[in-house]
Amino acid sequence: MPGEPSTVPSFLSNEALGGIVAVPPGSLTSGPPEQYYQLPSATASKISKKAKLVQTPFMERRINEVFRQNAIHLKTNEFHEEMVTLHKLDNATSFEFASPNSLVGIEVEVENIKRIDPNLILTWWVIEEDASLRNNGREFKTCPLPLKYVEPALTQLFNGLNDDRDFSNRTSVHVHQDVRSFSMENLFVLILTYMIIEPLMFRFADSSRRKSIYCVPMNSANTLLKMCKHTDLEQSLYNSVSSCEKYSALNLGPINTFGTLEYRHMSGTDNIPKLLVWISLINKLKIWAYRTSLEDMFRHVSTLNTSSAYREFINQIFGDKLTPLLDISNLPRDLEQGVYNAKNIAFVNKWHFELLNKTPAKDSTLMRVQKIPGISEATIIAYHGLAGISGMNITLDTSTDEVIRHQIVIIREREEEYRRYFKERFEKSSAKKLNLTLMYMDTICAV
């Protein structure tokens, strides 16, 4: 069946990992280490268990402590330098990144492939078939690559393919960004920032990708709703990463396995300058997330509402060099929805949860429409309270009054059975719930 298969990026494949090689956290900003650290998986597991015992606040914990990731095999700087020299790619090292040692993994899909330079697989690239591509399509994936070697790698790839290669609308370029040394706080800052600037990112990469089913904007996806289902931010964040669907434009899923964020916006292209700027934008976003505290981010989110503030915000993230490359001609229109979503997600709405935990007032507008002739209001309130607290889901929303009346009759008839059930259920776990359920039972059965 055609479609985008769930393939593992080459740089994280089992062969590449070898199962025993790990890179210490923190290598992200300092570049790849000179030596590998031998860390058998059994030891890694013990360390992980110990790490859990340390009472570090959740938002300060690193991603690689919270999520279980595979070890990554890194090639040394010497290897990269040697490849650049060997393949005469010295000229292709002019683009400057803000943090040249940050790691990325790049996946390039191309169709109409007739010639592939065999040297590609000896350097940075792995070649795979992709069922979603047609016309002799291939997917080329890099190993984990420091940003300073992205330009030579892309140059080598496109020089090594036939000139009439095709970048149809089925093709795309995905960038995996290493975030293993992020704290959960950094991650949340990045997600909120991304949410706000997402339209700008799409406009730079390819606006038509907004409609793609393989690159669904975060601001249109149901991921947003999942992010605010809990009273605690940590649980929401953990769940949104764990349950993120693969085809989100910003795919959080790989954090759970590889320690990377996947940006799927860019359509297929061999325009190297555009790709370099794109990766640079992503890199700037990461640096911003590192440097900005959650408090500062909350402040930004809650005060962003004027054109000038939007512009300053974009400038702070991307800097003077990259901001002019973005289409910021209508920032209010582009950013408003993202700010609205970010405000709803960033701040836990305690009032909302308190409201939904209170028994409805008998004279409330809600309960007025629930009135049933022949049954007292107190009984109906108690009935709803009982059903709510026990999670019994007694009736359908569209059920008639007769159904509710019938249920109340059943509860009255089988009073002892219900009381015994609630006692067994709540006696040990929650005395408060037990008292409430028994109180509701008293009201319902007081005929």
């Binding site: 149809s168 089913i213 249109s220 809650s302 709405n349 009032w351 429409v369 709510g388 019994m392």
Partner: protein, 211 residues
């Protein structure tokens, strides 16, 4: 250049709602006619010769819409969002559309089961061209429909704690109370500015208070 076959097109757009010449239609499948030309089979209109320019997919942004065929007692306000899951449909269908009503949050209070709205032509039309009543009208409709959207971002809903006020909600959570069409109390303070902007942008003249 690779030309898509009828099978390819069926996989993308078959059994889903698309825009055909700007109108929402349920596309059943694509097939070849006796002249070996691709035709599109719709459920409500006659088969049409496939023209890529006539076919498009509605571009939907996350937000509220009102379900125009809601029966009495059924919530009118629903939010739609996209599901970024693995599936083939480009058109709108159950597999790639998530529908949720703020009213569902109340069901636990009332001890009732979840409710669901299925994707059909009326729903898709309502999503593509949402219609919102004035605030006063929405408040009047509340007893009948429990929850009514007043814009893609805000809706009003029956209140579980107050005899006269309605709840103000976003697709994410309840954020405040509507005392009257011109008097709102915002309880989730971070949304205060958004509500003021909403009022100003639509010339509603609402007095917004932080509760």
């Amino acid at each position: 250049m690779y030309n898509e076959s009828a099978d390819d097109l069926s996989r993308k757009y078959g059994n889903s709602y698309v825009l055909w010449n700007g109108e929402v239609q349920y596309c059943s499948e694509f097939r070849y006619n006796n002249k070996d030309v691709i035709v599109v089979i719709f459920s409500d209109i006659e088969e049409q010769v496939y023209d890529p320019r006539a076919l498009s997919v509605p571009s939907l942004e996350f937000g509220f819409f009102n379900y125009s065929k809601a029966p009495t007692g059924f919530p009118k306000c629903w939010s739609h969002s996209r599901r970024p899951k693995r599936q083939w449909h480009r058109g709108i269908c159950e597999a790639n559309t998530h529908l949720e009503s703020p009213w569902e949050r109340m069901l636990n209070l009332l001890g009732k089961k979840n409710i669901a709205l299925r994707v059909d032509k009326v729903v898709v039309n309502n999503m593509v061209t949402p219609v919102f009543p004035k605030i006063a009208e929405a408040l009047e409709e509340l007893e009948r429909f429990k929850c009514v959207a007043i814009s893609t971002q805000y809706a009003v809903c029956l209140h579980p704690q107050h005899a006269t006020r309605a709840l103000l909600t976003t697709p994410f959570s309840f954020i405040g109370e509507v005392v009257s069409p011109r008097e709102w109390i915002v309880k989730h303070h971070v949304m205060l500015q958004e509500i003021v902007d909403f009022s100003n942008r639509n010339n509603l003249g609402i007095d917004v208070y932080a509760g």
